[in-house]
C-alpha cells in the first residue's frame, strides 16, 4: 500500500466525461415523456397483464390453424416469392453503380458524392410500406407496386452497405490501374469490383432475405403477395385462416434465411 503510493503510483483515474450524466438525463427524460399518458403512448404494464385474458380466445384460434385453407394460400405465397426475386435482381443491379457513385474512393467528384448520398438518405428515410401505398395509389393494387417499393428499399440498403465497403478497399490495385493508363471505368472494373464482389453478392443475398420478409407485409396496403390474403382474413376475423398464412410465412422466411446464410458463409 505504502510502496504503491510512493514509487509505482496508480495512474490518475480519468475524469468522467460530462456527456455521460448528460446522456443519462436526456435518456430518462425522453423515456418518461414517451411512457407518460399525456405526452406519450401511455404504456401501462399492469393493465396489460389484465388484458392478456382479452386476447385469449383469438390466440386460441390462432393456435389451431385451419389446414383446409392451405390450397388458397399457395398462389399468394408464390407471388410473394416472385416479387422478392424480381425486386432483388433489379434493386441490387441498380445499387451497384449507385454505390460507386456514393463512395469517396470511386466517386466522380465532390458534388456528385454529396448529391448521391443525400438522395440515398431520402430514399432510405421512406419505409417500404409507404412506397407501396404511393405506388398503389398510382397504378392500383397488385404485385407491381409491391415490386417497385421493394426495388427502392433494396437500392437504399445495398447502396449504403456497399458504398461503405468500397470506402474501405485496398488502394493498391486502383493505383496500379491508374499507373498503367486505365480510365476511371476500367479502374473501377479491374481495381475495385474484384475486391468488393464477394461482399456485394453477400449483401444481395441478405437483401433477398429482407425482401421475402417485407413482401409478406406489403399486401396489407394492397401491393400483392401473401399479405393481402392474410389481411383479408384478419378483417373477416377468420383467425384460424390467418394462422395458416402465418405458419407458411414462417416456414418460407426461416428456409430462405438458412439457405442464404449457408451461401453467404461460403462466399465471404
Amino acid at each position: 500500500m505504502t510502496s504503491a503510493t510512493r514509487s509505482a503510483a496508480r495512474p490518475v483515474k480519468p475524469r468522467p466525461s460530462l456527456l455521460v450524466p448528460l446522456g443519462i438525463v436526456v435518456f430518462l427524460l425522453l423515456t418518461a415523456a414517451s411512457l407518460s399518458k399525456q405526452l406519450g403512448i401511455g404504456l401501462d404494464a399492469a393493465g396489460l397483464i389484465d388484458d392478456l385474458g382479452r386476447g385469449r380466445p383469438i390466440l386460441e384460434q390462432l393456435a389451431s390453424p385451419n389446414w383446409s385453407y392451405l390450397p388458397e394460400t399457395i398462389g399468394p405465397m408464390i407471388e410473394t416469392f416472385q416479387m422478392a426475386v424480381i425486386a432483388s435482381i433489379i434493386g441490387c443491379g441498380v445499387a451497384l453503380p449507385v454505390s460507386f457513385m456514393a463512395s469517396r474512393v470511386t466517386t466522380s467528384g465532390r458534388v456528385g458524392l454529396f448529391v448521391t448520398r443525400w438522395v440515398l438518405n431520402v430514399v432510405r428515410a421512406i419505409p417500404d410500406v409507404l412506397y407501396a401505398m404511393i405506388f398503389v395509389a398510382a397504378v392500383g393494387i397488385g404485385p407491381l407496386p409491391g415490386i417497385m417499393a421493394l426495388i427502392l428499399f433494396n437500392i437504399g440498403v445495398v447502396a449504403k452497405l456497399l458504398s461503405e465497403t468500397v470506402d474501405g478497399v485496398d488502394p493498391g490495385p486502383i493505383e496500379a490501374g491508374r499507373a498503367s493508363g486505365a480510365n476511371s471505368f476500367q479502374t473501377v472494373r479491374w481495381g475495385v469490383l474484384p475486391q468488393v464482389l464477394p461482399h456485394y453478392v453477400a449483401y444481395s443475398l441478405y437483401t433477398f432475405e429482407l425482401n421475402i420478409r417485407a413482401s409478406t407485409v406489403l399486401g396489407i396496403v394492397g401491393a400483392g403477395g401473401i399479405g393481402r390474403t392474410l389481411f383479408a382474413q384478419y378483417k373477416l376475423f377468420h383467425w384460424s385462416n390467418v394462422s395458416v398464412a402465418i405458419v407458411e410465412l414462417f416456414v418460407l422466411v426461416v428456409a430462405i434465411e438458412a439457405i442464404s446464410i449457408w451461401l453467404r458463409r461460403r462466399l465471404v
Binding site: I41, G55, V85, A125, A138, V242
Partner: protein, 291 residues
C-alpha cells in the same frame, strides 16, 4: 496452352481455376429470375401507367397548391407518436435482449441453453413488426400505440438478442480468465470480464435498431397500431394528396434528423470524442484525412 508457355522457357502459367461452379450458380439464378418474371401476374401496360400516375401524385402533393401547411401540426404530433413508439419499443428490446444475449452466447452459456434460445430468437425475428401487431398485440392491448410499441419491442428482442450474442462470442478471453483467477463468481465474471468489452458495441446496436424501428413505427398506423401511418394511409387512399405531401415531408425530415443524431452518438461511443467531432464537422474531409 501450357505446352506453349513451357516452351517459351518461363515458369508455366498456373491453370485457370474451374469456373464450373460459378457458371452453374449464375445459370440457376438466371433460371429463377426468368421464371419469376415470366409467370408473375404483372400487366406491362401498368408499368407505363406507373410513370404517369407517379407524376400526377407528385404534382398534386407538392406542386399544384404546394403541400398543405395547415396539416403540419397534425402530421408532427403523429410523427412524434411514431418516434415514441420506436423509442419505447427499442427500450423493451434492449432491456430483454441483453440477458437473453448472454444466455445465447456459446462461450458464456451452455450449449443446450444457447441453442434453444437461438432457435427462439430466430422464430421471433421471422415475423415482421406489423404482423406481430395484427395477430398478437392488437387483440391483447387493443388498437393504439401500445400495441405498436410492444410489437416493435418483441421483434427487437429477436434482432438485438442475436447481435448481442454474436458480439459476446467475439470477446477477448483474457479479462474473463483474469476475473476468474482473482476469484470472481459467475456473475462477477460477466459483469467485470465480459460486459465492459461488449457494452459500447451493444449500445451502438441499440441506437442503430432505434433508427430502423422509426421506419417500422412510421407505418404501423396502417393497421391501427398508432403513429403517423394512419394519417398517411387515410390521406393517400382518399386522394388528399396535399395533406399526404405534408405528412411525407414530415416523415422524411424527422427520420433523417433522428438518423443523424443517432449516428453521431453511435460514432461517439465507438470511436471516442475525436472521431465523432471530425466526422461531424466535415464528413468528407475527415474521411480524406483518415484515408
Amino acid at each position: 496452352m501450357t505446352a506453349a508457355a513451357t516452351v517459351a522457357g518461363g515458369t508455366p502459367r498456373p491453370a485457370r481455376p474451374s469456373q464450373l461452379r460459378r457458371n452453374v450458380a449464375l445459370l440457376a439464378v438466371a433460371a429463377i429470375v426468368a421464371w419469376a418474371a415470366l409467370t408473375i401476374d404483372v400487366d406491362l401496360s401498368k408499368l407505363l401507367r406507373l410513370v404517369g400516375g407517379l407524376a400526377r401524385i407528385f404534382y398534386r402533393m407538392f406542386l399544384e397548391h404546394g403541400p398543405d401547411l395547415t396539416y403540419v401540426q397534425t402530421s408532427l404530433s403523429a410523427m412524434v407518436q411514431s418516434i415514441e413508439i420506436a423509442w419505447v419499443g427499442t427500450i423493451i428490446g434492449a432491456i430483454f435482449s441483453l440477458p437473453v444475449g448472454f444466455f445465447a452466447a456459446k462461450n458464456v452459456s451452455s450449449g443446450a441453453i444457447s441453442n434453444g434460445i437461438r432457435v427462439a430468437l430466430d422464430a421471433v425475428r421471422a415475423f415482421p413488426e406489423i404482423i406481430l401487431a395484427v395477430v398478437i398485440f392488437i387483440p391483447i392491448a387493443g388498437l393504439g400505440p401500445e400495441a405498436g410499441a410492444l410489437a416493435i419491442g418483441i421483434h427487437s428482442i429477436g434482432t438485438l438478442g442475436k447481435l448481442t450474442a454474436e458480439v459476446i462470442e467475439g470477446i477477448d478471453p483474457g479479462p474473463v480468465e483474469a476475473v476468474r483467477a482473482a476469484g470472481g463468481t459467475g456473475l462477477q465474471v460477466q459483469r467485470w470480464g465480459v460486459l465492459p468489452q461488449v457494452l459500447p458495441e451493444i449500445v451502438a446496436f441499440w441506437l442503430y435498431r432505434f433508427e430502423i424501428n422509426i421506419r417500422a413505427s412510421a407505418i404501423l398506423g396502417v393497421v391501427g397500431a398508432g403513429g403517423i401511418g394512419f394519417i398517411l394511409q387515410q390521406t393517400i387512399a382518399y386522394g388528399r394528396f396535399p395533406k399526404a405531401g405534408t405528412a411525407l415531408i414530415v416523415v422524411v425530415v424527422a427520420t433523417i434528423l433522428v438518423d443523424t443524431a443517432s449516428g453521431w452518438v453511435r460514432r461517439r461511443i465507438i470511436e471516442g470524442s475525436q472521431g465523432a467531432q471530425l466526422e461531424a464537422l466535415a464528413p468528407t474531409t475527415a474521411a480524406d484525412i483518415a484515408a
